[in-house]
Amino acid sequence: MAANVESPPIRASRPVPRRASRARKRRSAAPLRGLLPLAVLLGVWELVGLHGNSVFFPPPSQWISQTSSLVHDGSLFPAVRQTLVTFVLALIIATAIGTALGVLIGRSELLDRLLSPVLEYFRFLPGVALVPLAVLFMGYTQSMELYVVVFGAVWPVLLQARLAAREIDPVLEDVRRALHLSRAAAFFKITLPAVAPGIMLGVVIAAPLTLVLALVVEISTQVSGIGKLMETAQQNFLAAQVFGLIVIVGVIALVINIALSLISGWLFRYRPPGE
């Protein structure tokens, strides 16, 4: 069936300019040698600190020694566990509520228009401003911390879910009707998977916010957690301990990022690589 067409001889393609290939490489992960400035900074800091006795900038070795005292007196691990539990619980609840409300609002033009100003207001209201309010009404309790963190974390998820629900391609409604899918079946088989990437984006935005809110509550109200340890260390002018706790918080944040990345990669394995 294929006709015997004379194809022109293939010319050797011009070599791709080096710049283009370099630009493409930039999108891959940062090379580890990028940690050099940080390592150098810590190294110099250590060397300088060994001679002087700076209250403000204690050398890294002191961080370890002063922070391990927290391990020895048994306060570090419970505090870390407390903050993490709050974080995970709050994020899960916020995701559930944000998804449910966001999809509901996004799919209904009436609700969307009705609630838009209210949503925009809460979007720009800094969640941290509500911490003292929560304390006033609920006291210095763990449940207060959960309420206020959930409230702050709900908005990014809700807004992204709403956006994603709005942008579901109208043809999918035609597909639903043409295939005679019930609304319930369509919700779980079409709507939710379609908004899932948007929700994930909302979660990725909400996660650092959730951690920050938890720390704010702990620092300002002495509810137990890493924040409380930091506040105590600061009040006692134990700068090295504060730095040590900063490192711990940083590691936790890194682990959270990696975890979210992995979850996202698994959930969206249907996507082409690079997206």
């Binding site: 990028g34 403000f56 100003p117 109208p170 409604e173 730095f243």
Partner: protein, 284 residues
């Protein structure tokens, strides 16, 4: 098995158009979104006046208004907001400039990127709030401390987006720059930065939000001045009306800052604004 009735007037084309389902052409002529806040406030006031609201320490809207008026009159409210906004805006500007410079360097020089990007990733993933205790130890409880924290949190989004934006200069543009023999500064100002502008604008908005949050946090936690401290004070003195006044106003400030920024974007970069509104939904 036939499905239910067909919705009349459904959008005819099956080509993907970002229109919402529902009845097209049904567009209310007045902003119905204002109904809910008005109704809520009215219901709140009625419930309070009738004594129907069980919580004794939830103030009524009128009480909140009175409190706000009083605090404005004695200068406390404006003073506090002035302090917080000063810290937020100064920090934001400083941080954004540093971030833009760093981002340009990271975006334009492969060597710089290769030898520092990992450090940037590590530093920016640490929540800025955890640096507040150290900032308090170093700078003590002062406006300077707030500015430093606000600046720190603004650096990262701007740096990353500038880097990404600058890296988007196409090889075609680079060839153009070479053929026109543009100087290095010209390349940066006329090609790199304009290409990076859309992403930078988004990051600037994020940075501003972050700076406001961190300024308030710094005041709650570290520096007894400004809005954050006023909130804590109102909580400790059990003054719910005062607290609500501050909270509601803080939200309004957040909205206002964002609106001003949007306005600025519309003037300075009209194409960006059009792209944003187009992206947010044709149906509006």
């Amino acid at each position: 098995m036939t499905a239910g009735a067909v919705t009349p007037g459904t959008e005819a084309t099956s080509r993907p158009v970002a229109r919402r389902q529902g009845r097209p052409g049904w567009r209310p002529r007045w902003p119905i979104g204002l109904i809910i806040p008005v109704v809520l406030v009215a219901a709140w006031q009625l419930a309070k006046s009738a004594g129907a609201l069980p919580y004794a320490n939830v103030p009524s809207p009128l009480q909140i208004w009175d409190s706000a008026v009083t605090l404005t009159g004695n200068g406390q409210l404006p003073g506090d907001f002035g302090h917080t906004l000063a810290a937020c805006l100064l920090g934001w500007v400083i941080g954004s400039v540093i971030g833009a410079a760093a981002g340009t360097a990271l975006g334009l020089s492969r060597a710089v990127w290769s030898y520092s990007m990992a450090s940037v990733e590590v530093l920016r993933s640490i929540p800025a709030i955890s640096f507040i205790p150290i900032a308090v130890i170093i700078f003590l409880q002062s406006l300077k401390m707030e500015i430093v924290i606000a600046a720190w949190v603004s650096i990262w989004p701007v740096a990353v987006s500038t880097m990404a934006g600058v890296g988007g200069v196409t090889s075609a543009h680079r060839d153009l720059a070479a053929s026109l023999r543009m100087s290095w500064t010209a390349r940066v100002t006329k090609l790199a930065l304009p290409t990076a502008l859309p992403k930078m604008l988004v990051a600037l908005r994020l940075g501003l939000a972050g700076a406001l949050v961190l300024a308030i946090v710094a005041e709650i936690v570290g520096n007894p001045h400004g809005v954050g401290y006023a909130l804590v004070n109102a909580q400790q003195q059990a003054q719910p009306a005062e607290m609500f006044a501050y909270v509601l106003l803080t939200g309004a400030v957040g909205v206002a800052l964002n609106a001003l920024l949007s306005l600025a974007y519309r003037r300075l970069a009209p194409g960006f604004h059009l792209a944003e509104t187009a992206r947010r939904g044709h149906g509006r």
